[in-house]
């Protein structure tokens, strides 16, 4: 498969699977889910997904482990103080940038 064919096929699979997950229940089902375990499982899914996607990938998100770790710590601290999505994200970027700037200046 060529690169562009692979890209197109991947995007098509993403879009179709995501769409059908959203569309089938609203189009077909009228009954409510009663099973307590299924409800609790679905409640915890987003947190599990986001945690698994963030760790350890966050530590490889910049040019170096040290700067990424600094950004991660900044993000965790601001999240603990509930400073909102935007400020937390911007501050994490600033943390990475500051560490890389210092590393560049001292030639490290």
């Amino acid at each position: 498969m060529s690169d562009s064919a692979y890209l197109f096929a991947s995007v098509a699979v993403m879009a179709l699977v995501t769409y059908f997950i959203r569309m089938l229940p609203i189009a077909a089902f009228r009954k409510k889910i009663k099973n307590k375990f299924v409800l609790d499982f679905l409640y915890y899914v987003p947190y599990a997904v986001l945690a698994a996607m963030t760790v350890p990938a966050v530590f490889y998100s910049s040019n170096g482990l040290l700067s990424a770790a600094a950004g991660f710590i900044v993000a965790v601290v601001l999240s603990l103080f509930e400073r909102g999505l935007l400020l937390t994200a911007v501050a994490a970027c600033a943390g990475v940038f500051a560490v890389e700037l210092v590393q560049t200046l001292i030639g490290g």
Binding site: A15, P25, F41, L50, A51, N63
Partner: protein, 234 residues
């Protein structure tokens, strides 16, 4: 009771749209930094309209993962939408024909669901179209800006911006983890397992996310079942 109009929907969509702009912007940058062409990144946002699934998707594409892996990862990561869609289906009014159901289903996101389900009474299609329009446009537009800017920004800025999307993920999961032992357990378990699996090169990132999600969420549901009240207010 006031009837919800298209304009009511547009109005309620503004804060969601503004939030999406920044998330989509960082998605665009992240995608390009992983080697995804800007046009593909925009196409993904136009056709998927979901953050976590898209980030996992570009990770799989960047690693040249298989299509079956892609389908399975999207299924697990986006499974929550089935529950939201199911829940919304109970709130739609008589004007909501099958046609409106299959069109508005396209853009049911966490935030759209949260706002829609917070309305009292039944929902007409025009309100949902209004609610979904601006978030969809800002999601796609923000991705375009990020993708094209990401291609021309200096290396050090790009390196710093790569962490933005993870910063946002942390800001989503940490505050609820402070209040709920179940969420805290699920988050820590998923993160720990994800680190363990990252040591096995045979397990790709998409498969790892699937395994971590199923095990962590199932353990969370088993060990920390929620009160009946909380579950029925979903």
């Amino acid at each position: 009771m006031k009837k919800l109009s298209f304009l009511n929907g547009l109005n309620d969509g503004i804060p969601i749209a503004l939030g999406y702009l920044s998330v989509a912007f960082t998605f665009g940058i992240t995608a390009v930094s992983m080697g995804i062409p800007p046009i593909t990144a925009i196409l993904i946002s136009l056709t998927n309209v979901t953050s976590a699934g898209q980030v996992a998707g570009i990770g799989i594409i960047a690693a040249h993962g298989g299509l079956a892996e892609m389908a399975a990862a999207q299924l697990i990561i986006n499974l929550r939408y089935a529950l939201m869609s199911l829940s919304l289906s109970q709130k739609l009014n008589k004007e909501y024909t099958l046609f409106h159901r299959i069109t508005t289903a396209f853009c049911i996101t966490d935030e759209v669901f949260a706002v829609a389900s917070g309305q009292s009474g039944e929902l007409p299609p025009r309100y949902i179209y209004g609610l979904e329009l601006l978030p969809f446009l800002f999601w796609s537009g923000g991705t375009a800006i990020g993708a094209f800017l990401g291609a021309v920004l200096p290396e050090m800025i790009k390196s710093a911006l790569g962490i933005a999307i993870y910063g946002m993920f942390l800001a989503i999961i940490i505050p609820p983890a402070k209040k709920s032992k179940g969420v805290l357990f699920t988050v820590l378990f998923a993160a720990a397992l994800s680190c363990c699996l990252a040591n096995f090169s045979a397990i790709s990132s998409g498969i790892s996310i699937i395994i971590c999600t199923i095990i962590a969420a199932a353990l969370g549901a088993l060990l920390f079942p929620r009160e009946k009240e909380a579950a029925s207010n979903e």
